[in-house]
């Protein structure tokens, strides 16, 4: 049984594109599901093109595309055309899951809504990801990740203490929605396994992001308090921050919570005289003189490398870590030892470094990851082997730009 994969035998028709719609499919594919990415030259995944949508010969080169679509299959099918519409329905009849993140109403407009699909495949699971969900007064908005974290409430808290919000400069809403969506989809699959019933999942990316900030919502409902930007300040902790080290843009994060940790911190940095001053003697005093404290801590960190400061503090049992960018992450010894990247080779893009999954698993089946498929790479298998079309029929459909 050792070679069995957790999602073996599960087929996913993947309309997902760009970010949020695609990652959940690769997680399924990584664990043995047959994930068929539905593409068409008439409706290309923008991620094949890069962020600025310009047609070119770079359809296979964007690293983000390879990360998000690894191990999947790709077919090119114009499902807007009458013949394409029939073919996609035939494929969905043989699938377990359909996922999509188009503008709300797109698939419904083309007769591929949940109610349509249920008629041809009663136990289908359909998961739809959209910025604000499928219904409600704001359901039709157009939003990229930066807008989602703005709507969800998290941006209003990301900025220097007491200062203006800066916003979350990563695709946080997209990534968290797709990971939460993967979890949701898997629970629906398990429910189907137990009861035989499929279902429809309406996922709002803004809502999944709001669910990650439960604490300030509770504070608002309990006390009417509205959280603002806190910077690196956290109540009950001092010092707590990212402190400047020697070197170009090098920083070390340091967090001290308990009195014991404070004592260890002082000892580790050599008990300089400022640590004995009354204004820093208790947590309350340190919090009252935070700006001075941060300056004093920096007088120690500024002469050390980020890893050097980290090691001195960790040896003393104080929480510290270097502030790494992608270069730092790539070369960090812990990440190196655990192996957080994997290498794949793509016929056009060549050797690629993709992120690996963030866990080490004993006993869990996992497919060796491949790169993303080239556009239409699996047309023969899907139209021929799964849908039973002859080579001639496939060629004719290609000529008619149905398979295109």
């Amino acid at each position: 049984m050792a070679n069995k994969l957790p999602f073996e035998g599960i087929r996913v028709v993947d309309f997902g594109w760009v970010w949020a719609g695609t990652v959940l499919g690769h997680i399924m594919a990584d664990h043995g599901a047959e994930v068929i990415k539905i593409e068409s030259r008439k409706r290309l995944d923008g991620l094949r093109l890069g962020r600025v949508f310009e047609l070119g010969d770079t359809l296979e080169l964007n690293p983000a595309f390879h990360n998000n679509n690894r191990s999947k299959m790709s077919i090119t099918l114009d499902w807007n055309s009458p013949k394409g519409h029939e073919l996609i329905k035939e494929l969905i009849k043989k699938a377990d899951v359909v996922n999509e993140n188009f503008t709300v109403g797109t698939l419904e407009k083309h007769g591929l809504g949940y109610e349509d699909l249920k008629k041809i495949k009663p136990d289908i699971i359909m998961i739809k990801l959209a910025p604000t969900g499928q219904y409600g007064p704001e359901a039709n908005i157009m939003a990229y990740a930066p807008l989602m974290s703005a709507i969800a409430g998290i941006d209003s808290m990301l900025g220097y203490k007491g200062d203006r919000p800066l916003g979350f400069k990563h695709a946080y809403g997209d990534v968290m929605a797709t990971l939460t969506g993967a979890f949701a989809m898997m629970t629906a699959l398990r429910y189907k396994k137990r009861t035989g019933k499929g279902q429809y999942i309406d996922l709002s990316e803004c809502e999944t992001t709001s669910s990650l900030i439960g604490e300030p919502f509770m504070d608002y409902f309990m006390n009417g308090r509205v959280a603002g930007c806190m910077g690196n300040f956290r109540p009950g902790m001092a010092p707590h921050g990212n402190y400047k080290c020697a070197g170009d843009d090098k920083w070390v994060s340091i967090a001290v919570k308990t009195e014991d940790e404070w004592k260890s911190f002082c000892k580790a940095i050599g008990n300089p005289s400022w640590t004995k001053e009354t204004k820093f003697s208790t947590l309350a005093n340190r919090l009252a003189n935070l700006e001075e404290l941060d300056k004093a801590v920096t007088t120690w960190t500024i002469n050390l490398g980020d890893y050097e400061a980290t090691e001195i503090l960790q040896k003393a049992g104080v929480a510290a870590a270097p502030v790494l960018n992608i270069e730092g992450v790539f070369f960090d010894p812990q990440f190196r030892e655990r192996g957080i990247f994997l290498n794949v080779t793509h016929p056009i893009a060549g050797d690629l470094t993709l992120y690996d999954l963030p866990w080490q698993a004993s006993g869990l089946g996992r497919k060796a990851a491949g790169p993303a498929p080239t556009l239409g790479e699996n047309n023969d298998y899907v139209f021929g082997d799964i849908l039973g079309l002859s080579k001639d029929e496939i060629a004719k459909l290609q000529e008619e730009q149905v398979i295109y």
Partner: protein, 404 residues
């Protein structure tokens, strides 16, 4: 009782603060039976965290705890004591999934590591969450949220270039890892159902950032030495405008990568003369070359319109823009009301309050609130006596030994 997606799944959580509790919350909300094991007398750390109604500390009324532990059963038990371990093993014997986030050396010393638990339940799925993983040079390093964010790479590009990098708000490393833990728990459950064999997942919270959120930057770094650095409220290397701006009554986020979106935005602003400035022909260069000049053009229009007004005007015309909403805005938002995102929960100590719900709607097996977060040891009798068969006398003696 509604049949939910995970109604047949039994989960034991020996967790504290956010990461493990958020992981099991996701499962509990989908119907899993989650038994939360808390240290006798003190309970989960989040009970002391707050926020508290009227800011009066009370370990039954902490907003963070209430939010994270709804739908769970709660028992008090010290499994590190021999008598407690015996009771704990009985819980484990009956469980599908065990989730824990205590330091693994503590877990191991108490004989509660995977190898030991596998002997009790060979089909157990065990999820261990830790800051940096259970292997590698940093496995015993101490960490708080700020350190995990720093090492994982999510902090470095947040903030102004001339100031310190900013950790994301509200302990996102733990919400992120909790989400990913729930996802891999589901994958593991499929694998376990197939093979009957147990699985141990060693999930590193820092890796949860370094992979899905940061890892797709590895290839651009290797190819072009591209490293994201801090750019305040703007986003580098993106077509103008992709930024958070002040407006009449707050802040808005506007993101117009496509030319037609930018043209529409200019129309929405009433086709001002300045939009004819040649700089807007190459919007990709603006952020790197002269953002202040371009932004100064926008300011008068932005400052004479409110955030919700800008949102409506832009979205009605196909321009991706959104208000930066704070928790109060979100809590009173009509769209979220229509979608019943917030739920009312009546808790015996904290009373009736609104809570954030989940971001997805299932047609067949929906999220429901079955019970409020447990009082400390609330289900001791129900679980230990009724489920495990301990007599009242046996429980009294365990209580005396401070095991429960």
């Amino acid at each position: 009782m509604t049949d939910q997606a995970l109604s047949d799944v039994k989960v034991v959580e020996w967790g504290t603060f956010i990461s493990a509790p958020f992981c099991t919350k996701l499962m509990a909300d989908m119907g899993a039976e989650v038994i939360k094991v808390e240290p006798p007398s003190t309970g989960d750390e989040s009970r002391q965290h707050g926020p508290f109604p009227q800011d009066i500390p009370n370990n039954e009324k902490s907003g963070l705890f209430l939010y994270l532990n709804t739908n769970k059963y709660g028992v008090t038990l010290d499994p590190t004591k021999p008598a407690g371990k015996e009771v704990f093993f009985k819980l484990i014997k009956d469980a599908d999934i065990f989730v824990q986030n205590y330091p693994y050396n503590v877990v191991k010393k108490a004989g509660l590591d995977y190898e030991s638990l596998k002997k009790v339940n060979p089909g157990l799925v065990m999820i261990s969450l830790s800051p940096y993983g259970l292997t590698g040079p940093y496995k015993d390093w101490k960490a708080y949220d700020i350190n995990i964010c720093a090492l994982g790479g999510i902090t470095a590009a947040s903030g102004y270039p001339e100031r310190e990098p900013l950790v994301p708000p509200q302990c996102q490393s733990h919400f992120n890892s909790g989400t990913q833990a729930a996802m891999v728990a589901m994958i593991s459950l499929f694998n376990r159902d197939m093979t009957g064999e147990g699985i141990h997942i060693d999930l590193s919270e820092a890796q949860c950032w370094a992979t899905f959120h940061i890892g797709q930057g590895a290839q651009p770094f290797l190819d072009e030495n591209r490293i994201r650095t801090r750019s305040g409220y703007r986003v580098q290397h993106q077509a103008f405008t992709d930024a958070v701006y002040p407006c009449k009554d707050g802040y808005v986020c506007i993101d117009t990568p496509q030319n037609r979106q930018w043209k529409k935005f200019v129309e929405v602003m009433g086709n001002p003369e300045w939009a004819k400035d040649p700089m807007f022909n190459e919007r990709i260069k603006i952020v790197d070359e002269n953002p202040e000049k371009a932004e100064a053009f926008l300011t008068p229009w932005l400052m004479s319109h409110g955030k919700e007004e800008i949102y409506r005007l832009c979205q009605d015309n196909g321009v991706p823009a959104a208000p930066v909403r704070n928790v109060q805005d979100a809590a009173n938002n009509e769209h979220l009301k229509v979608r019943n995102y917030f739920v009312d929960i009546d808790h015996p100590a904290a009373g009736k309050l609104k809570y954030p719900g989940v971001g997805y709607k299932f047609s067949e097996s929906p999220f429901t609130v079955r019970r409020a977060a447990p009082l400390l040891g609330e289900h001791n009798e129900e679980i230990f006596s009724k489920k495990l068969g301990y007599t009242k006398t046996a429980l009294a003696s365990l209580k005396k030994e401070k095991v429960i």
